[in-house]
């Protein structure tokens, strides 16, 4: 394993009588060489602290960080062979674009020619050629972002760290930079750790996602895996939209689970969790897995809300006092069921995931 975080814990001492804060709680993550890994979670979940622990700006209270077989816990950030892209870009305001990018190379005491050549290369890669002599305040937000990225990339670090680099850009630019970052990362094959609270960024960029909550790792996995098989209600709720439907396990047989929910028995695929007949469970039903007037007709419900959004129609349907969100994407059926009308509803049983009640 290239970079591994072992039982990493960071406790911030409380100041002036405040309680101490456990920002990272026993975090274990293994990162492979060349991998793009994202730490995803709501604000205050410990993702930035974890990144700063890797970078060396914070030192762990417990646990260790191993890079390429060497324990780097006590190394200061400048000795770690990693470089970081900051949320605020942190471009040196008194230096030109060229000087900003060449900064780390000068510290490394490379020759002038070598510096020029490497900076030119990274300028080309980040499409900044021609802006070398600009002062930072003459750059647009997107260009500043590129300079920050170029400055980190030119160091050819073993690990590239990115702390919510796109959060200060407007939506359109963010889309563009997202693709750009992925392209550059793929071109260079550089191991990257990316922090964001934006699930779309995480989904589109990452090889693997680590979902964090309250300082702990909730789940680690590929984007599709995390979406389809969330390890906890938190993950299911945080990524995408979810209906949580309460149910009771009736029977476990042939890799399937019969669960009674809202008065009907559904046969769903058996999850990774150990569930015994009689256990109370919750079904994770994504809105797009709910069929309206289709081949599956488990329930009859009343439409409480219907919104037409162009490419799709969103419904809230009430069954037995439970509200179920459903999305219809089918372009062939663009009739809208009015609010108050009774419709049939079915769950795509093969795409429903079951979690224990307290997960």
């Amino acid at each position: 394993m290239f970079l591994r975080l072992r039982n990493l814990t960071k406790v911030f001492a409380g100041r002036g009588g405040e309680a101490e804060v456990v920002a990272a709680d026993n975090v274990n993550i293994d990162i492979e060489e060349g991998e793009f890994l994202t730490l995803l979670g709501p604000s205050g979940c410990g993702k930035t602290t974890t990144l700063r622990l890797i970078a060396g700006f914070e030192f762990p209270t417990q646990g260790e960080i191993v890079l390429d077989g060497k324990r780097i816990n006590d190394l200061p950030p400048n000795k770690r062979d990693m470089s970081m892209v900051f949320q605020s870009y942190a471009i040196f305001p008194h230096l030109s674009v060229f000087e900003n990018i060449a900064y780390g190379l000068k510290i490394k005491q490379l020759s002038r020619d070598k510096i020029k050549q490497q900076v030119a290369e990274v300028l080309r890669l980040t499409e900044l050629t021609g802006l070398e002599n600009r002062a930072p305040n003459q750059l647009s937000g997107g260009q500043q972002q590129r300079v920050a990225l170029a400055r980190a990339l030119v160091m050819e670090p073993k690990v590239l760290l990115l702390d919510e680099p796109l959060s200060n850009l407007d939506a359109k630019l963010r889309d563009q930079m997202r693709t750009e970052i992925r392209r550059i990362q793929q071109t260079l094959g550089i191991t990257s750790v990316y922090v964001t609270h934006d699930q779309i960024e995480a989904m589109t960029l990452s090889d693997r996602i680590v979902v964090m909550n309250k300082g702990r790792v909730e789940q680690t996995g590929g984007p599709a895996d995390i979406y389809r098989h969330p390890a906890s209600a938190f993950v299911a709720d945080f990524i995408g939209h979810t209906n949580f439907v309460p149910g009771t396990v009736v029977e476990s047989r042939n890799g399937r689970l019969n669960v009674e929910a809202l008065g009907q028995t559904l046969s769903v695929l058996k999850p990774e969790h150990e569930l015994q007949p009689g256990d109370v469970a919750q079904l994770v039903v994504r809105p797009e897995m709910v069929q309206i007037e289709g081949e599956y007709r488990h329930y009859t419900g009343v439409v409480r809300r219907a919104s037409f959004l162009g490419d799709r129609i969103e419904y809230d349907v009430e069954i037995d006092g439970e509200r179920i969100a459903a999305i219809e994407y089918d372009p062939r059926r663009m009739t809208i069921h009015p609010e108050g009308s009774a419709i049939s509803i079915g769950f795509l049983e093969d795409h429903i995931y079951v979690l224990p009640r307290d997960a």
Partner: protein
């Protein structure tokens, strides 16, 4: 790669809280320790603050309880507060002191508020000019206003005697006394309040007042329900600061308090009139209690109640008062007050050109002749020592600010606090502390500091605790022995040649044990160290003929200049051996870390011997009478200002910018040099200007430390006034003000050039 255990069992075991806390502290220091420059900075700053703030204050407090001759414990002077014979007088002094403080603080805060409100809210014409005129008292000697008041309103005052025709006889109230003192103090210190309140007013978001306005509140209602409550922390802060300043001031009370007396003057008289250290110390303690209480209140209570963000920039738009009668009453009042202040300063200017104020108003240049003749030494000495102290205060301030803003370690709060304390405690107390602490060698402290530095040196260079102790013990013993040699067998200069020779021999012996790449630095450092000792010995070859030559000159001015140059050279070339020794201990770290591991033990031992010999030679740190103690006192008095300037500047810089530099491979030192320093330079220079102005104008701490060879201008002005030479005092004051203004102009010009006048510098550091 060795496989790591998956789970730690140790982590599951509960660890006692004190152990994790201790471990954390140890780790914090270890982190700083990884950066040798930073840790050295922390070390030197820590030593400076300990030696020149904490230790003297401790000695003053201690001395209040002990008889200096017998050393016996006695509460003699505290007992006088309950002794009916002395009680009345002591309580009168105490009452007058507190009355003076409270009235000055109240009057100054109100005046400061009116000025700030006029400047910020009343769309006053010529705002910049008025702003700078308001700041005039902050750069003039502290008792300039007292002199001016005497010239205008005194018994022979231009206004009182010549314009109003008042004849002063017993029973007629004159400027002297508590009322005059409060008037003078208010004019002297209100600009500090003005700066604080102005800053708060500017940062007040107009949206809040506009919100109240849109909710239907009247202007007056808004003022006392929104504006005023938001300003309360600023007003309270200004009040408390002025209270402390007024209590601490010595110049004005000495000149103008007449028959009333305040504590600071009592302390001065106890030391310089009655030569009673214990009394001075005991009274200092009495003065220290209200000062410290207010200082703590200001720092921990008022500052936490601020609703206005301290780092926020002034918001764009400012509300202006629309009602003409309110606006014009503020403007008129401010203008009238400024006219009064201007006329006070003009009277100093005129006074310096008048033959005999009050009697004979013929223009006369003789006072300047006197001031630049007999007084030239004082002018030169004060300027020279102030200049030397300026970069010291600047560097210490920056290091402290950097540590406070950017680093986390235990004791940070204490460092910040103590450095601030040096500027906040009454100068008289600090001055007495210096006399008591440094009149004789403070052996314990000298030894303690040596032990700390030596301990740090071995801990960074040698492994194994037993070896470390052995090395320190051996080196120190040899060194101590060497330090006792002069006076026994050698004359001093021969002893220094011997040490220099030893250092050079060490350089030669080290040669093979240093990797070639690092050889130059190490050898050069040792040669410079030896050179320092040789220069010390050779310096009289230059300075003595220079002084003799100067004395023989017929032109008095040139003669004085030459003699002073000779002493100035001596300040650099012949420093106190102890200070040199400490400096060499720091340099030793640089030398040793360049050598190979196996040779380090004997190199460290030899260097320790050299440093110990220097540190313990003669009477270590018996600094009273040397110019160094004046420099230290200056630096201590202004460090709090440079710290504040540095903190304000650093807080403007996004920490991520420095982290980015670190992340790109730069160490703390490179980051500071390449990134932080260029960004904070304007503020740093402003801090330097302020420090220099403060040095030039300080009196209370220095008055006890000045010597015949290094006379201080402010002290001379005071004694001129006491002898009735008002016009000569005025001439000195004008010269002093001119020097400070020239320095400000010079620095402006320099910064303007360096930054293309991109960033404005303002002198608002005086407040807050």
């Amino acid at each position: 790669m060795a496989e790591l255990p998956l789970e730690y069992t140790a982590a599951d075991r509960p660890v006692p809280a004190w152990r994790t806390s201790l471990r954390r502290r140890y780790r914090e220091f270890k982190l700083i320790g990884q950066d040798p420059i930073l840790s050295m900075g922390l070390f030197l700053v820590g030593i400076f603050v300990f030696l020149f703030v904490f230790f003297p204050l401790l000695r003053v407090i201690w001395q209040g309880f002990f008889d200096p001759t017998t050393g016996a414990f006695s509460l003699k002077y505290f007992a006088q507060y309950v002794d009916p014979y002395y009680q009345a007088y002591h309580f009168q002094v105490l009452r007058d002191t507190i009355t003076m403080g409270v009235m000055t603080a109240a009057g100054g805060t109100i005046l400061g508020f009116i000025f700030a409100y006029t400047m910020v809210r009343c769309a006053v014409p010529y705002p910049r000019l008025l702003h700078y005129l308001t700041l005039l008292p902050t750069i003039s000697p502290p008792f300039a206003i007292a002199i001016a008041s005497i010239l205008l309103f005194g018994r022979s005052g231009l206004i009182t005697k010549d314009l109003l025709g008042i004849r002063f006889s017993p029973g007629v109230n004159d400027i002297y006394g508590l009322d005059g003192l409060v008037f003078v103090q208010i004019i002297t210190y209100f600009s500090v309040a003005y700066l604080i309140i102005r800053g708060m007013l500017e940062r007040l978001d107009p949206a809040m007042e506009e919100a109240a306005l849109s909710l239907g509140a009247s202007k007056f209602h808004i003022f006392h329900t929104v504006t005023l409550p938001l300003l309360i922390p600023g007003l309270a802060g200004a009040f408390l600061l002025l209270f402390v300043e007024a209590l601490a001031d010595l110049g004005n009370p000495l000149l103008i308090s007449g028959n009333t007396s305040v504590l600071s003057a009592e302390i001065y008289l106890a030391i310089n009139g009655q030569y009673d250290q214990q009394k001075g110390a005991a009274l200092s303690l009495v003065l220290l209690i209200p000062t410290l209480t207010v200082f703590l209140l200001q720092r921990y209570w008022v500052s936490r109640r601020s609703y206005v963000s301290v780092t926020g920039k002034p918001t764009g738009g400012q509300l202006t008062v629309k009602e003409p009668y309110i606006r014009w009453s503020f403007i008129t009042f401010t203008t009238l007050t400024l006219i009064l202040i201007l006329s006070l300063y003009t009277s100093i200017l005129l006074g310096s050109f008048t033959r005999l104020w009050g009697i004979d108003y013929t223009p006369d240049l003789s006072h300047y002749g006197k001031a630049l003749g007999r007084g030239l030494n004082a002018v030169l000495s004060t300027t020279f020592l102030s200049v030397i102290a300026t970069p010291i205060a600047g560097l210490i301030g920056m290091v402290i600010a950097f540590l406070v803003v950017r680093k986390a370690f235990s004791g940070k709060e204490a460092l910040d606090f103590t450095s601030n304390l040096g500027g906040a405690v009454p100068g008289t107390i600090l001055g007495i502390g210096y006399i008591i602490a440094f009149i004789k060698a403070p052996t314990f402290v000298v030894g303690l500091l040596y032990a700390l530095l030596a301990g740090y040196l071995v801990s960074r260079t040698v492994s194994n605790n037993r070896r470390r102790i052995l090395i320190v013990a051996t080196g120190t013993l040899i060194g101590y022995g060497l330090s006792r040699l002069p006076g026994v067998i050698f004359i001093d200069s021969f002893w220094r040649y011997l040490l220099a020779l030893g250092t050079l021999v060490l350089a030669g012996a080290m040669f093979p044990f240093v990797p070639p790449a690092r050889r130059r630095g190490a050898i050069l450092a040792l040669v410079i160290m030896a050179g320092g000792l040789i220069v010390y010995n050779l310096s009289p070859l230059l300075t003595e003929p220079l002084a003799t030559w100067g004395r023989a000159m017929s032109n008095r001015t040139l003669s004085r200049l030459t003699i002073k140059t000779a002493s100035a050279i001596r300040v650099f070339t012949q420093p106190t051996m102890t200070i040199l020794g400490y400096t060499y201990l720091v340099a030793a770290l640089f030398v040793v870390t360049r050598a190979r591991e196996r040779a380090r033990a004997w190199i460290v031992t030899a260097l320790l011997a050299l440093c110990a010999a220097l540190v313990f030679q003669g009477k270590p740190l018996a600094l009273v009478g040397t110019p160094y103690i004046v420099i230290a006192a200056y630096a201590v008095r202004s460090t709090s200002a440079t710290v504040r300037a540095g903190i304000a500047a650093l807080q403007q810089i996004d920490p991520a910018i420095e982290e980015a530099s670190t992340s790109l491979g730069a160490d703390t030192q490179q980051t500071f040099r390449n990134i932080t320093l260029p960004l904070i330079l304007p503020a740093f220079i402003a801090g330097l200007i302020f420090a220099f102005a403060r040095h030039m104008t300080s009196l209370s701490a220095i008055i006890f430390l000045t010597t015949a060879e290094w006379p201080i201008l402010t002290v001379w002005i005071l004694s001129e006034v006491e002898q009735g030479g008002m016009s000569t005092a005025a001439a000195y004051s004008m010269i002093l003000i001119f020097i400070v203004l020239a320095a400000i102009g010079l620095m402006y010009a320099f910064v303007g050039q360096a930054f293309g006048a991109r960033e404005g510098i303002d002198l608002t550091l005086g407040g807050g």
